[in-house]
Structure formats: structure tokens, C-alpha cells
Amino acid sequence: MFRPFADWLANTALSKVLQDQAWVVPTSQSIHIIAVSIVFGSACMINLRLLGMGRSGRSVSQLSTTLVPWMWRGLAVLLFTGLVQTITEPVRQFVTPMFWAKMLMIVIVTSMTAVYVKAVRRNAPLWDAASTRPVHARVFATMSTLLWLAIIVCGRFIGYTWSFYA
């Protein structure tokens, strides 16, 4: 279904310009890895704190205030570099289910994080004290960590699976 669109995109002038520059994809992928490190590293710090681990003594709300803006910045970079890679090699992305699974999980984890940030902002003391922290904080932390890991797996496996479908 997406194949005709991928073929059309691959033939656009912009895609052709990018395809002609051999450095574009490796450079974009390198920046993509740097950005995913910032996002996943920050998510892990917050999630571990929500699960009752972490040694800094920083509260959940302090950690979130510091790290969540970095997660959004990282996500913006991921979106941009991902877009560059998709425009340059659309077929590689659109044919493999790994790409679509990754996109779906990104939507889920991003929405979850946005809801979490709002909840913490609304009632920081509730989330900061381990005794009053909602039970679903643990569910959120576990799901967020697993989703990010699965996103990394799918991202890496786009490159290993697309040729089966193309």
C-alpha cells in the first residue's frame, strides 16, 4: 500500500539530491544515535527513580523538570534526522513492519510521557513521596523503559529486514 508512495518519494528532486550525497545517511544516523542516547538515558533516569532506585536524592519532580525538556529536544532531533533518512531511502523504511511498529510505539510512549509530565506538574508532592506515589507510576516506568528498548530494537532491525520485503 505504501510502496507506490515510497517509489514516488524516492523519485522526488529532494530525495535525489540527498541520495547523491553519500555522507547524508551515515551522518544523519550518527546524530540520530546521539539523540536517542539523550532521550533513552533521560527516560531511564526518570523511570528508575519512579521505581524507587537512584542515588542523587533528587525528587521525581526535580528529575522530570530537568530531564523532560532534554527528552523533547532529543525527540525533535530524532524526528528531523528520521525524516532525512526517510526522504533519502523511503522504500527501506516503508516496506518493513519494523518501521511501522517503531512509529506506533513512538506515538504511544510520547503520549504516555506527555500525560505523565502533566500529572507530575499538577501534584508534585504526591509523586515525590514514595508513600503516596500512585501505583501506576511503576506501570508507567516499566512500560516506558520497555517501549524505548523495543523502539531501539525495531530501529536497528529496519536495516536488517527491509530487503526481505522490498
Binding site: V25, P26, T27, Q29, S30, I33, I34, V36, S37, I38, V39, F40, G41, S42, C44, M45, G54, R55, S56, G57, R58, Q62, T66, W70, L149, I152, V153, R156, F157, Y160
Partner: protein, 166 residues
């Protein structure tokens, strides 16, 4: 035994053949090992970047440097250990090719310089951390943070480029 003979011997090991996917049922071994390497490196870079940005006075300014170090460095080291194990496995698959690859060599030059930078910082500015723990770090600490960040970006870039040049 010369280095060339050693590399050729490593490559001849059965486990190296399995990592190249040459043994039945091992087709997915290398992609899996590579994905684990990527997961580990995101945590290495993500955690070290937090500390580097704190040293630069850009992020987490409300946390004392020593406390942030105690919080993130155990994760940096554990993740680095994991990345090194999976990286070694990847190396074994094509030891001769990687050893002769320019990007691969530059990656290790960057990592060596990052280690040197860390040692100089540890025995230099960080020994007097009590004086500036909660303040804007001194110029030598900022320099160490900037160098560390640049060198680890170099490690990620050259690492990704190895995959495009071997």
C-alpha cells in the same frame, strides 16, 4: 605471534564464524549483538552527556557535581562494560577487516583520548570539587566537559561509520 596472525586466528574461531552467520541458525546473531551494543552505548553516551553538560554549566545546575557523578557514573561504567563485551563479539566476526579500518581506529583514538581526559580531570579539577560543587565549574572543569562530550560524539560517529566502510 604477529598481530596479523592473531587477528586471522580470532577470525577462524567457531564463535567468530557463528557471529558472521555462517553456522546454521546463527543468521540473526550479529544483528542481535549489534542491537545490544547500541542499547548499551545509548546509556554510556546518555549518562556521560548529563555529567558533561553539568560540567559545562548547561544542565542540572541545581545538583552538586559530586552527587550527579555518584548517581550517573555507576550506570556509565556498567553500560560501558556491556558495550565493550558486545563490541568485542562484533570485532571477532571480522577482526582483520575492522583492525584495518580507518574509522574503527579513529573510534579507539577518540575513546583513548576520552579516557586520558577523564584521568586528567579526576586528578586535577575534580580533586578540588568541594570548592565548586554547587557553583559554576571552573574553566578547567568546563574544558574537561567539552572535551569529553566532543570525544564521545566522535566515538559514536566513527562507530556508526565503521558499518558503512567495512
Amino acid at each position: 605471534m604477529t598481530i596479523a596472525a592473531l587477528l586471522s586466528a580470532i577470525q577462524a574461531w567457531p564463535i567468530s564464524a557463528a557471529l558472521r552467520g555462517e553456522t546454521a541458525g546463527t543468521e540473526w546473531l550479529f544483528p542481535i549483538v549489534e542491537t545490544l551494543h547500541v542499547m548499551a552505548l545509548t546509556l554510556v553516551f546518555g549518562s556521560i552527556a548529563m555529567l558533561d553538560l553539568r560540567l559545562l554549566g548547561i544542565a542540572s545546575r541545581n545538583v552538586p557535581v559530586s552527587r550527579l557523578s555518584r548517581e550517573v557514573l555507576p550506570w556509565t561504567w556498567s553500560a560501558w562494560g556491556a558495550a565493550a563485551v558486545f563490541g568485542t563479539l562484533m570485532f571477532m566476526a571480522k577482526a582483520e577487516t575492522y583492525a584495518g579500518n580507518l574509522q574503527f581506529r579513529l573510534k579507539f583514538v577518540c575513546m583513548g583520548l576520552a579516557a586520558l581526559n577523564m584521568l586528567i580531570f579526576n586528578f586535577g579539577a575534580y580533586r578540588r570539587v568541594a570548592r565548586w560543587d554547587s557553583d559554576d565549574p571552573p574553566m578547567s572543569a568546563k574544558l574537561a566537559g567539552a572535551l569529553s562530550l566532543s570525544l564521545w560524539i566522535g566515538v559514536v560517529f566513527f562507530g556508526r561509520w565503521v558499518g558503512f566502510t567495512t
